[in-house]
Amino acid sequence: MSKVDQNGKIPNNVDLSSDKRLQRALEHWLPLYMEWWNDMGPVGYQTKDIYLRTAVSVEAGGWANFDYVQMPDYRWGIFLAPDGGGERTIGFGDHIGKPTWKEIPGEYRGNLRRIIVTQADTEPASVEQQRFLGSIAPSLYDMRNLFQVNVEEGRHLWAMVYLLFRFFGKDGRDEAEELLSRRSGDEDKPRILNAFNEPCDHWLSFFSFTHFTDRDGKFQLASLAESGFEPLARTCEFMLTEEAHHLFVGETGIDRIIKRSAELTVETDGDPMTAGGIPLDMIQRSINYWFSYSLDLFGGEISSNAANFFGEGLKGRFKEQGRYEDHIMKDGIKIIPIVKNGIVVEEEMPYRNTLNEVLREEYIADCERALRKWNRTLEKSGLDVRLRLPSRRFHRAQGIYSDHHFDPEGNLVTEAEFRANMNDWMLNTEDNAFLTSIMHPVTEPGKMANWIAPPSRGINGQDVDFEYVRL
C-alpha cells in the first residue's frame, strides 16, 4: 500500500488510488509541502481548532463541509470540476471547434508550463505574505477567514502541482519543488510576480490584497478555465468556487473598515486616528497602492505572449463563451493610449496582442463595482468624501506606462513630481507604522477591534459571536 493514503487523507476526483505516477510524485512532495507549511504557513494557531470549510468532493454540497479542523490536518485535496459529460471543444483561437486536449499538446508544453507555474507561484506566496496576521486579528471571525484563505491557497497550490505532476514528468516535479523553495519578499528567492513580494503586515493590507490582488486571480483563473487544455480548464473552474470567498473576505473587510472609519470620523469631528480608527485618506492610499501593484499582474498592454496564448487556445478571455461573439479575433484592432514624445496618444494595436489589457479592463470594471458599494457605505454615513480607483497608468512597474510617471488621475508628471507626492498617493511608512500600532488582537467571540465594524452575518449560518477559533 502506498504511503499516500489516497482516499482518506487526500480527497480527490482524479483517481489518485490507481495513478501510480501521481502517487510517487506526491510521496516525495507531500513531506516538503508540510515542511513548507510549518516553516512559512501561519505563525501560531497550528494546533487550534478552527471552523474551516473543506472540499471533499465536487458534488453540490461536497465542496463546502464545515467543521473544526487543525490546520496541519486540513485535507488538502485534488479536484477538477466535473467534465459534464460529452465531448468538449476548444472555444476560441486558431484551433476553435476541435476537441479539447486531454493530454498536453507537445508544441505548447513550454507555454502551458509557464502559465501553470506562474499561477501556481502566487498561491503559496500569499500564505507567506500573511503569515503573521493571525496574532493581530481584529476578531475570531476574521482570524478564521484568514486561515480559511490560507489553507485554500494551499489547496490551490496542490491543484496546480497536480497538473505539473500529471502532465510534465520530471520537469513538473522540479518545478513543484521550486514552488516550495521560493519565498515572498526574499531577495535571493523571490516569488515570480512582484505584488506577491510586497509586505502585507497589517489587516488593511490584508483586506486590500485579498480584494485587489486575489481578484487578479479570479480573472486569470476564469480565462484559464476557458483553456483548450481540459485538465487546466477544469482545475481552474473548481478553484474559482473557492476564490469567491477570498474576494468576499477582502471586499467586505474593506467595507467594514470604511463603515467604522466613517463612524469614527463623524464622532471625532474628522480625526479618527485619535480614536484608534483608520482615516479615509489612508484607505484611499491603500487602494492606490494595492490596485496599481495588482494591475501589473496582468502583464504588458501589448504582448505577443498574450496573442500566442489566445491563438494557441491556451488562455481565453474572461467568460469567453458568454460575453464575446467572435472567438477568433484574428484581424481585430484595439486602441491603446501610449506615451509618444511626452504626451499620451491613442494608437491602434492588433487585438490579440492587447488581450492582457482586455482582461485588465474586465478586472477594473469589477473593482469599480466594489468601489460603488463602498461609496454607498460612505453615503449612508452622511460624509461627502468618496473613494476612487486611480488611473490604470498610475504607479506601474510593468507594461508601456512603467517607463513614465503619472498622477492618480493618469496625467503625465515628472519623476520629481511623482516622488514628491508619493507619500500622499500611496501607503507610506508612517501609515504602516500607525496601522501596525492600532492592530491589537481581539479574541473574545463576537468582539471586534475598534477600527473595524462587525460583519453583517457569520459564516455558514453561524452567528457573528460563534467561536470560530478555539483558542
Binding site: D94, G110, R114, E187, D188, K189, P190, G311, E312, R352
Partner: protein, 516 residues
Amino acid sequence: MDVNPDHPLKDGYELKLNSYDLGVDIELADIVRRLRFEHPEITSLVVSSAHEQVFCAGANIHMLGVSSHAWKVNFCKFTNETRCELEDWASQADVATVCAITGPCAGGGYELALACEEIWLVDDGNSAVSLPETPLLGVLPGTGGLTRLVDKRKVRRDRADVFCTLAEGFKGKKAVQWGLVDAIAPKSKFNDTLAAHLVSHRDQRPGRADRSGITLNDIPFVDEDNTRKYSTLHVEYDNARRTAQLVIQVPSAEGAPDSAEAIHAAGDQFWPLLFARELEDAILDLRVNRHDTGLVLLKTKGQLEDIKAWDQILIDHQGDWLVDQITHLLSHVIQRVERTSCSFFALIEGDSCFGGTMLELALACDRQYMLDEDGIEVQRSPINEGILPMTTGITRQACRLLGEVELLESCLGKFDRMDASEAEEMGLITEALDEFDYEDMVPVAIDERVSLSPDSLTGMEANLRFSGPENTKSKVFGRLSAWQNWIFIRPNATGPNGALTLYGRPERPEFAWDRV
C-alpha cells in the same frame, strides 16, 4: 548594457529590454577597440546590465523583421566579428572577461555571454539563459551561439539540443550542471562574490597599473566624386563597372618612431595603427553602403624598403603591449577583408610595394596579378610567417600551399625581393604577365568577374578562401552564419506565414514540413 529604446539606428522599431541593433553593436565594437588601446591597465572586464528587468533580450526581432536580407546578413557578420574580437582581445591582452547575468538573458544576450570567458548567473529563480531562436522565431542563434555552446564551452550535444529548443532556457542550478554557465550566486551575495573573484584575477596579473593607454581619435575621411579618401589610402568606386580600386599609400619610413616610447608618443598617428583603422573603416563602408560593388582591385604605392622598415619596427618591438595590439588589429582587419562578400584582386604593378604586411593583404585577395617587368618585385618578411594569421590560425601561405608542403617550407626564412617569375614559382601570385598580356588579360578578368552571379561568388569565395583546419571562429562564420543566412530567406522564417515574420503579431506561423 543600458540600451536607450528610443534611439534605434533606423526607424520602425524600439530597442526595448536591452535588445540591440547594428547601432548598439557598433558601440560595443568601439568599446572593445578602446579597451584594447586605451585601457591596457585593466585585468578583467565585467559585462553586466543596467536594465532593471532583464540582462539582454538579444537582437531586436522587430529590427530583423523590417530589415532586408542584406542588412540582416551584414548585421550578423558584424556582430559576430565584434564577439570574436572580444575573445581575441581577452586572450591577446590576457584580460579575464566575465559576463555577470542578472535577469533573463536570451538569444543574442546569451551569445554575448558565450563570447566571455566566464559566465556568472544570479540564482534568483527568475534569471535564466536561453537560446529561444528555434522555438520562438524559426531561425538560429546565429551570433556564434550554437558553435560556442558545443565547441567552446563543450556542452554535450544532446544537452545543447534540449537547451536550444526550450524557449525559456535554464536557470540557476541546472544551468551550471549542464555547463551553460560557470557559476551561480544568490542575489544578496552576487556582487561581493564576483568582486572577490575579480580581485583574484587582478592578483594573477601584476604590474599593469603602470601602463597607460593611447587615445583613439575619430577617423577623418572625405567622400567626394565617388572616392572615399583617408590619410593612408583611398577607395575609388566605378559604379558603372561595379568595381572599386583600393589604393594604399605606404609612406616613407624615414623619421618613423624607433623606440617604444616614440611609438607610444605617436599614438593613433603611428602609421601601422592609423592604416589598420582606416582600412577597416573602408572595408566596413564597402560592406554596408556599397552593395553594388562586386570586385575590389587592391593596389599599393610606395617603396618596398619603406614597408619593410615599418614592419621591422613592429617586429623589433614585439612584447610591447601597444605594438602587440597593433599587430593583432592588423591581423583582425585583414581577416575582415577575407570575410567580406566581395571579390578582391591584387594588382601588382609599377610603384607598388607588396612587401610584408602589404603582401599579406595581397594573399588575402582571391587572385594576384603581377606585371612581369624589371623592378617590379614583392618581398616576404617575418611578418608573413605567423604574426598575421588567418581566422583559422594558420598563415595565408600555408593555406595556399596545402598541397605543396615542400614549396611552403622552401619559402620559410626567405626574405629576398622576388620578381614576377620567382613569385609565381613560389606560389605567391596567380599569374605573372608581361606588359601586353597584362593589358589584354587583366581587364577581361575583371569584366568576367563582375558578370558572374554575386550570390554564387559569395558562396564560392567563402569556400575557397579558408582551406585547411577549422576552428570555432571559422565555424561561426563558415557554418553557423551560412546556415542562418539560408534560413533567413526560407518561407518558414521570413515568408508571409514565417515564424520571424509573425513574431509579435497575433497570427501564428505555418510551416512547410518538408525537410530540405
